[in-house]
Symmetry: C2
Subunit: 192 residues, 2 copies
């Protein structure tokens, strides 16, 4: 998606440890005009797939998922990362290792909101090694729900998570795939 690539080139920066900082428009300060264009693009890609639910994980995926959901006219469920009084009863859960935070946490979804009849579009802001996405797919499996695919804003292709899932048959559609990047500012995108 050309617009997103332009944002990454213009406003993104590369830090040590394979960190791509896009917090000025994607995951801290959120550019809602861009989010609307991303939402429309996800709908162009998955609009014919009879999606019944959009699934994401807190926190950075929620905004993109909610904006996209308007075009699909379906609810959004966000997997929670910690226990709270708001999430009691029967849950699906899966352990996930965070790349950015370097720790393992559980993601949880109430059994009430995901079930066999669902066709799920998973949406997230970033895909690197793919741990969060694998966790969300695992939760859909526990629910017996079909995964129609994953819509990702930025995939760090060189970390392999997206291609590993594609080899397993998961439809992963990333709006910008970065094949290489360097702290000197070089960012090379995969051809569409």
């Amino acid at each position: 998606m050309q617009l997103l690539k332009e944002y990454i080139k213009k406003y993104g920066s590369v830090r040590e440890g394979n960190v791509l900082k896009v917090d000025s428009f994607l995951n801290h300060c959120m550019d809602i005009r861009l989010f609307c264009e991303m939402g429309k693009e996800f709908f162009r890609l998955f609009g014919d797939d009879n999606i019944t639910k959009i699934l994401t994980v807190e926190a950075s995926g929620i905004g993109i998922a909610c904006i996209a959901a308007q075009y699909f006219d379906v609810p959004v469920i966000f997997a929670k990362k910690s226990e709270s009084k708001n999430l009691d009863g029967e849950i699906y859960s899966c352990a996930v290792r965070s790349f950015t935070k370097n720790r393992v946490y559980d993601i949880r979804v109430s059994k009430k909101y995901l079930n066999e009849g669902d066709r799920v579009l998973i949406i997230d802001d970033m895909l690197a090694v793919g741990n969060a996405l694998c966790g969300l797919i695992d939760i859909c499996g526990q629910a017996g729900a079909a995964v129609a695919g994953a819509g990702i804003a930025i995939e760090k292709g060189f970390q392999g998570g997206g291609d590993a899932l594609r080899r397993k048959g998961v439809r992963v559609e990333s709006l910008a795939v970065i094949d290489s990047m360097d702290t000197d500012g070089t960012i090379v995108f995969r051809e569409d």
Copy 2:
């Protein structure tokens, strides 16, 4: 807001410890049609206030804030609750006690995204004793930004946080204010 009150009556439930469960439409599974109506209502209330940024805190506030931001055509900043590689550099922070999770955490906003020229609308899903909202107001104060007001989906009026802030001169607009509720299912709304 009549539609939100109907959702609370129909789908909400009251649990021990002043917990209102609204996770079927507000803060786990998110009803995006409802969110759009709430966003329009926030724009009706604050649309003439020259808002430049919407500020919320992860995670449950993000969806409502992003949907509302479309009507205001401004970016959304979400305060982060924990340290990560994505939030380096200079930050504003404030310690907040969570009512639902019963612990103290820091909320953090990068200094890059909030400053003196801003007029901020704070949006959140729930207001009880008001700790998160006070923390967000404190962060705006650190930035020298003006707080135009707070747009809240559900205020638990009997816990006093909203009225305490109104007495201090903060414009708090809650789409549904609950004056009392009981585990037998009774929910009494404040008159508009």
